[in-house]
Amino acid sequence: MPARISVIMKPGTAKEYETGSWRSMRPVVDKDKCINCLVCWMYCPDNSVLVEKGELKGFRYSHCKGCGICANQCPKKAITMVEEGKE
């Protein structure tokens, strides 16, 4: 990207900056337990809880930093944090 004046002309370019590699634990959802209350979506600091038509579809692993807030806040304990590299 060529250097212009110090104004970023395009919105949302940070999406190209993937922060998923920061993660040591990743969230995994058990859809049998999930009630789609979307509390995890509301509390995700990284816009990494994927929701489609009101349903939790998974996580944006390219950007999720693995903070664990979603798992901690899930009222149904449907999300668990799994160590990266393990199933």
């Binding site: 940070a14 999406k15 789609n36 209350c37 979307l38 798992a71």
Partner: protein, 313 residues
């Protein structure tokens, strides 16, 4: 207010790919604040974690117009933007009905940014100022601010063998702002997202300056697990250290869990729970500093009683 499912369909204003620490409360708060309006919005940002991490050239985490100019002047900068809006609208050069919001940390609100904030409120610009209050200068590495809790250890008021962390109570900035007699001021917490979104909506539509002070747990600076951010924010409210309330048209109103505590339908938790939850207070568990923990509790109780009294006026 729309449902959480509908909110999840609203195009995001702050994207992923920002470089705030894992578990930082700031983007959670910003998301909730920005859900408080469906109008086009322009954001001003004071220098700090939130600014640095959401704007590293050429990676822009903002899907809305955004401006950062310096540390101490988020309120002055947005008042310039808003003044331009007023005149250009009057001249027919801008058609949109735009809302304006400034995000600043506690340093940029309580300390270095206070003058510009006070001036902008006094002049009556139409903007919402949100303090992302993590109770210290986190961007430079956890130094003491005017918002730092008494007894908290920071890198400029560490807990040593002689001095147990910060020696002074924080200033009550929300009340100081309320003393400007502005249309709207409030305290909020991201754990109670309904409360925060509602307050933001009121702030955006206040038709004048509005201020919301939001507690923003910082895993790195407060020394707690990143997963605990929302729980810690909730604990701040449950101990009455951070009561949820609003000041509107000269009236004080306690909201959310704080309201239930005031009404006696919810238990007020002891400050000891708060102290135990974060490494920055670890030294206060030493019997040597028991007097400080007691003083902490006394101060929380005193401020809480004052607020209840105000809410009954």
């Amino acid at each position: 207010m729309i449902s959480i499912k509908e909110m999840a369909d609203v195009p995001v204003k702050l994207t992923e790919g920002h470089r705030l620490c894992a578990g930082c409360a700031e983007p959670i708060i910003a998301k909730q604040v920005l859900l408080g309006t469906d109008k086009p919005v322009v954001v001003s940002n004071a220098t700090g974690c939130f600014e640095v991490s959401t704007s590293g050239y050429p990676y822009n985490a903002w899907n809305v117009p955004w401006i950062h100019s310096a540390f101490e002047n988020a309120a002055a900068t947005i008042s310039g933007v808003e003044s331009a809006y007023r005149v250009l609208k009057r001249k027919g050069k801008v058609q949109d009905d735009i809302r304006f919001v400034a995000f600043a940390g506690d340093g940029a609100t309580y300390d270095i940014g206070f003058q510009a904030l006070s001036g902008a409120i006094e002049r009556g610009h139409q903007f919402l100022f949100v303090c992302l209050n993590n109770e210290a200068y986190m961007n430079t590495g956890i130094q003491r601010s005017g918002a730092t809790s008494k007894g908290a250890a920071t890198t400029t008021c560490p807990s040593g063998t002689c001095i147990p962390g910060k020696r002074e109570f924080p200033k009550d900035i929300t009340k100081i702002i309320a003393a400007h007699d502005l249309p709207y001021a409030a305290q909020a917490s991201p754990h109670n997202w309904k409360d925060l979104i509602e307050k933001s909506a009121k702030g955006f539509e206040a038709n004048g300056p509005a201020f919301i002070n939001v507690i923003s747990p910082c895993p790195r600076g407060w020394r707690h697990e990143s997963a605990m951010t929302i729980e810690i924010a909730k604990l701040a409210v449950e101990t009455c250290l951070w009561p949820l309330y609003e000041f509107q048209d000269g009236k004080w109103k306690i909201t959310g869990e704080s309201k239930r505590i005031a009404e006696g339908t919810k238990e007020k938790r002891p400050i000891q729970d708060w102290i135990k939850s974060q490494g920055r207070f670890k030294h206060l568990l030493d019997p040597k500093w028991k007097n400080l923990a007691d003083e902490f509790q006394e101060n929380v109780d005193k401020k809480w009683e004052e607020l209840i009294k105000l809410s009954k006026q």
